[in-house]
Amino acid sequence: MSSWLFLIPLLPLVAAVINFLIGRWILRDSAQWIATLAVAASFILSIPVMLEIMADEQPLSQHLYTWIPAGDFDIPVTLFVDQLTAIMLLVVTGVGLLVHIYSIGYMHGDPGTYRFFSYLPLFVFSMLMLVMANNFLVLFVFWEAVGLCSFLLIGFWFRRRSAAAAAKKAFIVNRVGDFGFGIGILLIFVTYGTIEYAAVFDQVGDATQTTITVIALLLFTGAIGKSAQLPLFVWLPDAMEGPTPVSALIHAATMVTAGIFVMARAYPIVYESSDAMMVIAIIGAATAFIAATIAVTQYDIKKVVAYSTVSQLGFMAFALGTGAWIAAIFHLVTHAFFKGLLFLGAGSVIHGMHEEQDMRKMGGLKKYMPITYWTFLIGAAANAGIIPLAGFWSKDEIILGTWLYDHTVIMVVAFVTAFFTSLYMFRAVFMTFHGEERFDPEKVHPHESPKVMTIPLIVLAFFALTAGFMGFPPEDGWIHHFLIHSFPGLSLPDVAFSTIAVFAGISTLIALSGLYIQYLAYVKKSISPAGIAGLLGPLYKLAANRWYLDEIYDVLIVRPLVAFSMFLWRFVDAQVIDGTVNGVAALVTYTSSQWRRAQTGLIANYVVMIALGAVIIIGAFMLFGSNLFD
């Protein structure tokens, strides 16, 4: 199988290139089929890879070519698949395939379809290469490539000013993280003299503790950017300006989890540094909590899901930080399914509501779009952690991990966050699908989405229902035994059933309480959400205004930066640099105007010069290079 590995990323790339080159004129609508088929083929090819890994428990690798040969040092492009990668492969191609199918319906009639279907497989290609890389440089290249795809897709409707701004914001914010990431990779190279995973991980212990901590934190900086952790998560909600399938694929299921993936990949490094892990855990917990609180106050259905994503990413991050590695990856996988489902469901709602995203103008949609409703409900329940859906198992395991590895504070935060999770999820469900119809029935005629859109929803809903059983029984499930190979030195904790039961009970209670509160608030109307908001006063305001993070950035970073830039422009650039440049240019102009006399424009003169040059060179060679005068 390893000799066919290259096909997995190649097919989407080919599809992307074909669609990009001839999509506009020749393929037009058939571009979508090329892309979908390519990703489907990748998905089908990924299955035997998975099976082989399961059977052999040995990583696969295929050397493609040497990218940068430079003396002793060379950068090979080698595809590397171990257990972690295999899971990622299935997630990326599987969710990718469903999103492609969904997009056929969602993007129908858009003039830029061919463009969309060349970016989307390009993203799949980049993501696949990212997870299949065997060294940090290739990883970094495709890390940037997925960033680029994200940029392109967020700004897909670039004529919309807000979309363009969001794309820019996502790109720039990510650059901050990537900057740290890049430095981290450089530091790895400086420290270990190589950037291949295997070689680096073999000699992790050779470096000082401080160096390792710094490397780990720098790598985590990248993850902060890409996986939208505090303080860089601001881009992700804005990224919802892109088409909804993009949000589902990139900003929920795959790309944003790249940060988590990288940290898991760099497990040997991170694991060496308890300080770094502590930082990761704190940041993750803070992110999870803050995002969850914001999510409760949002009215835009996609924003709710987006903040939910940030929150869940926080969960994964602090799972990493607390040492629950497998739980983090487990949650990554389940999250990919139910968050993809939620986004696609949200997209289906938006599609059915004629591009309306505000939940205040929805309500009572249950009867109009039953499939969307049920699948969305399953996704929401999975996200909220209702037993026995996927989210319950993974999230519960993360919380269990905090207790197991003695992070009590974080555990408390996690429980609180879980409560908020339940709150915002069911708030969204009830506001959208239950209650009175708040939209204008004259203008809006809600309808169920076409089959190409609902079928992916059903498939994802199935996985959201069942994926959790990969990790059953907790801490001893199939996924744990499978993934443990990717985390050498880690052992599965032996947890008493009673402990598991207690945590499961608490989690379920919290989730159901959230459900009940929202039921009262939006269906029974016995509690007034506005009243509670008024009761909480400043706290609500804080959450509703996204903890003023954008404003803080504006004051702390953007404005000084703008001012500094103005200074640079007005004085340094206009006066100093331009002056210098213009002076140099004037000098060059003057000199060249003198030299220009040599440029007669007469071919004859040029030919003479060529001949003269030849004569001189041959003469010089005869004088110095031959044995003529020896």
Binding site: Q599, L602, A611
Partner: protein, 102 residues
């Protein structure tokens, strides 16, 4: 010199090449210059073929073959340019063509 020596063809090649070069340098007519360039290419071909003969190889001949093929392409384009030039400028005098200056 009772036998055919490599020096024979090398001198022939050199002589033709230099004649061609002198022609390029001294003539004004674009077409004659063009012919001189063809002569220089042929001179190089003699070298290729000669070395191939000297070392019992065919690589030189194959190189010469490629040179001829490329020379044909060059002739087509060159003459096309000259035709366009005469159409536009009404001249084949190389000293009246100063388009390269800008």
């Amino acid at each position: 010199m009772s036998e055919l020596m490599p020096e024979h063809f090398m001198f022939l090649s050199a002589a033709l090449f230099i004649i061609g070069m002198v022609g390029v340098l001294t003539r004004n007519n674009v077409l004659v210059i063009f012919m001189c360039v063809e002569l220089m290419l042929t001179a190089v071909n003699i070298s290729f073929v000669g070395f191939a003969w000297e070392f019992n190889q065919l690589t030189g001949q194959i190189f010469a073959l490629f040179v001829i093929a490329i020379a044909a392409a060059e002739a087509v384009i060159g003459l096309g340019i000259i035709m366009a030039l005469t159409r536009q400028r009404d001249t084949v005098d190389i000293n009246q063509v100063r388009e390269l200056r800008q």
